[in-house]
Symmetry: D2
Amino acid sequence: MYREGRAENTVVTLAPGVTVGGDTVVVIGGPCSVESEEQILSAARIVKEAGGMALRGGAFKPRSSPYSFQGMGKKGLALLATAGRETGLPIVTEAMDAEGAEQVAEVAACIQIGARNMQNYSLLKTVGRMRTPVMLKRGMAATINDLLLSAEYILAEGNENVILCERGVRSFDPAARNMLDLTAIPIVHRLSHLPIIADPSHGTGLRDKVIPMARAAVAAGADGVLIEVHPEPDRALSDGAQSLYPDQFAQLVGELRAVAAAIGRNIPPAKTGTA
Amino acid sequence: MYREGRAENTVVTLAPGVTVGGDTVVVIGGPCSVESEEQILSAARIVKEAGGMALRGGAFKPRSSPYSFQGMGKKGLALLATAGRETGLPIVTEAMDAEGAEQVAEVAACIQIGARNMQNYSLLKTVGRMRTPVMLKRGMAATINDLLLSAEYILAEGNENVILCERGVRSFDPAARNMLDLTAIPIVHRLSHLPIIADPSHGTGLRDKVIPMARAAVAAGADGVLIEVHPEPDRALSDGAQSLYPDQFAQLVGELRAVAAAIGRNIPPAKTGTA
Amino acid sequence: MYREGRAENTVVTLAPGVTVGGDTVVVIGGPCSVESEEQILSAARIVKEAGGMALRGGAFKPRSSPYSFQGMGKKGLALLATAGRETGLPIVTEAMDAEGAEQVAEVAACIQIGARNMQNYSLLKTVGRMRTPVMLKRGMAATINDLLLSAEYILAEGNENVILCERGVRSFDPAARNMLDLTAIPIVHRLSHLPIIADPSHGTGLRDKVIPMARAAVAAGADGVLIEVHPEPDRALSDGAQSLYPDQFAQLVGELRAVAAAIGRNIPPAKTGTA
Amino acid sequence: MYREGRAENTVVTLAPGVTVGGDTVVVIGGPCSVESEEQILSAARIVKEAGGMALRGGAFKPRSSPYSFQGMGKKGLALLATAGRETGLPIVTEAMDAEGAEQVAEVAACIQIGARNMQNYSLLKTVGRMRTPVMLKRGMAATINDLLLSAEYILAEGNENVILCERGVRSFDPAARNMLDLTAIPIVHRLSHLPIIADPSHGTGLRDKVIPMARAAVAAGADGVLIEVHPEPDRALSDGAQSLYPDQFAQLVGELRAVAAAIGRNIPPAKTGTA
């Protein structure tokens, strides 16, 4: 993943016209978890109408406690597929093991590897042998070098479509859920040809910090942002406290568009109509 | 320093027309250390011409090793005063003890309390009894709450002119000198009425990361940025590796102006002529 | 894993007379990686003769870089089995995925889940459905509560034979490879009925710190220690810098025996003869 | 402070027969704060009777909030002097600034520099020009190298009687108040000729973790331990939750004596009678 011998940046295509790593800053939105057909369809429409370019939503959820909601599994994937078809948005969703990766690849444009699995090398090799793009999230105490080395596990198996994601690291300060390390963005851009996006939702864990930190991520040069938005955050089964309300998400995209323009990048206007 | 019972923001005036905490985003530039009359005058002119609004430069330097350059002391303060008079820029410089604070207050518009002294309560009380504005830098492992409580030591003595400064905290990742915690900016704005600026020079320790992270700080809502710039960074006695070259500083101010405008704030154009 | 409703401690049996969680402090020794038949047999004899009670050694190695030595795999497991048969020492070795766990269970008395996989929940569930004891290492930025919740993934599937392992966490100080958090030992003993051992080899990464920190772990109440020892540390394929020389390992067991006795626990004398 | 050119260890004398850095492991006990004559006299007797060799107690208290109890100041010093005279115990107490250091030196055998002032270089230079021994506590995010460099500020001014103190650093885990980094002990012993003690009271913040972690500190090679004990912890004005009950302190000294003996060091039996 290092730049040596490779000057040009990797650009990962999620769907026709939706690329990560070029001039466009990609906004990926959606709920933490798929909870029901109504919920994910509603979320997808909110994302689409506000100008989001891809839909996120978890069907397999890695939760610290075995007694927390673990996601809808295969049924959740089917609902994501439905929401993708209806809105035309490509799907980004997490896989936690080899079997799940195969299932995810059937419906998703991008397989997410979560922070907890960043050094699950068996899983990295598995998705490295696939052709679906992979979004690799930084581990909670992973150095930037660790992140790049984990990406190399995927690249070394032949899958060059890797997007990195800064999502905050563990810190001593309980003021936020994690410490969003935005300096990782220019550091990765210097060291690697891979694109990097930021996840200010997990990176802060605080709804009212998501908009300013998403703006900051774009200003720092992020190739995209991953944002949690839920039709009804107060009823979310997971991560409700960091999910934006629908109108906040629309406001966010507008603010990001202005910041992107200020640094010579762009976020296209929302497309009207469905796929 | 908490918002309770105080809705309006504190606005700190450094000089006529130079305020921290209002709509304007203040750019404070200068070298890590005052090294000579020629160096500080040159630096001051670079800052002024590029649109910087205040001059930073250390006369008293807290260095981890007693054998590192410790600053020019009182002579350095005199040179700062000269540079301030010539350019009309207000001076921001650090004090390390009660005696130094008195000396600094004679020439500076703002007394800087460094990260290592953030919990030097005797010093905080001393500057709290003065009327000169104080810039309080976050300690290397201070929580945001610790920072606010330290500010309260100053406020409680009667000095309400306090500017907070995020300058990066210690982390496990050697990729950067510190981890710049930009989320501190919206968190402080929510909890406190005090303004907060960011120091991406110490926050990253890497020259080519200063511009993107300064942009990110402004996008996150910072009330100003503190930037190290040196006429000849390669010959600097301290912090050369994180000091901008003069042309980079001018580029920085331009980029920050665009980002500030994108979020409804402003950085005024550079004034021509001297004070 | 919490104590609620369960007063007595879990005692995990690795072999007849080798239990973790009772009065005896278990010393588990061996190389980082299995490298050859000669190497692992030699290491096993060193461990046995010094009074070690179980043999560790990696066949599947999770390495940050895909280009580092990845272990001998199944062949390494076969060599471990040979070394175990010859010395009578039960085997502790790591599994990185479901397939590997099945293979490990055929030869090992205890399946190690490494720090990088502490939140690989699919793997935790897999070993939870097995009956072989599991040693679960704390993740590099896992809180003690995270560690206990990960253990619960195993217990909830029915496998109650779980040993926890403190192996150091990431810190800001490069003076050691990790920061060994020995306070985790009494904290776990208060919160949970599970035994906990310490790994001062990974916890410090520094050979000459292993003996004092192993003593400290025992004094803090650890139910065992996991120690890297290699017949020829200077020729080790991985972790040579933290592996003890054979005579240091023998010295270590003697010192630990004295400390254990001082706090009312014991380490039995070395048994002469082979299995 | 580095070993280069200096093979023998520094041994600091607190009182006739009370040295830090030799074979004896020094137990220093007392309350967080001096609260009243009755309290400090009672605490001193508890320490003396249990076999403690020096009395700690704060008269000047650095507190994160200006509204917390700040200590009794000069009056507290006078009470410490009384307690010292009555029991014959040398006094260890903190100074926060130059003026306080002079006052402390009049009654104390050792001036403590707290973690928050570890890089208050003006204060370090001040106590460096004095002859009273200094105990320098590690800062909350100070590397071991930072600690040694801060010690050098004292040594460079001429005061060679410096004792280092590991008291825990900031970490991501809220399970304990700080993370006690006992590996600092053998690292300091390797790098420096200065003695180092441990403070498991601040290092854990949890009363029932103090005894096992004090044992661990001694097993790791600490030259002493600093322990908070209060006649009535539940009524303490500061740090009550980490202060031992009197009988726990007596138990602690006994356990430490056994561990010290196990590693070839010693803690002398309690002396009967007063000074």
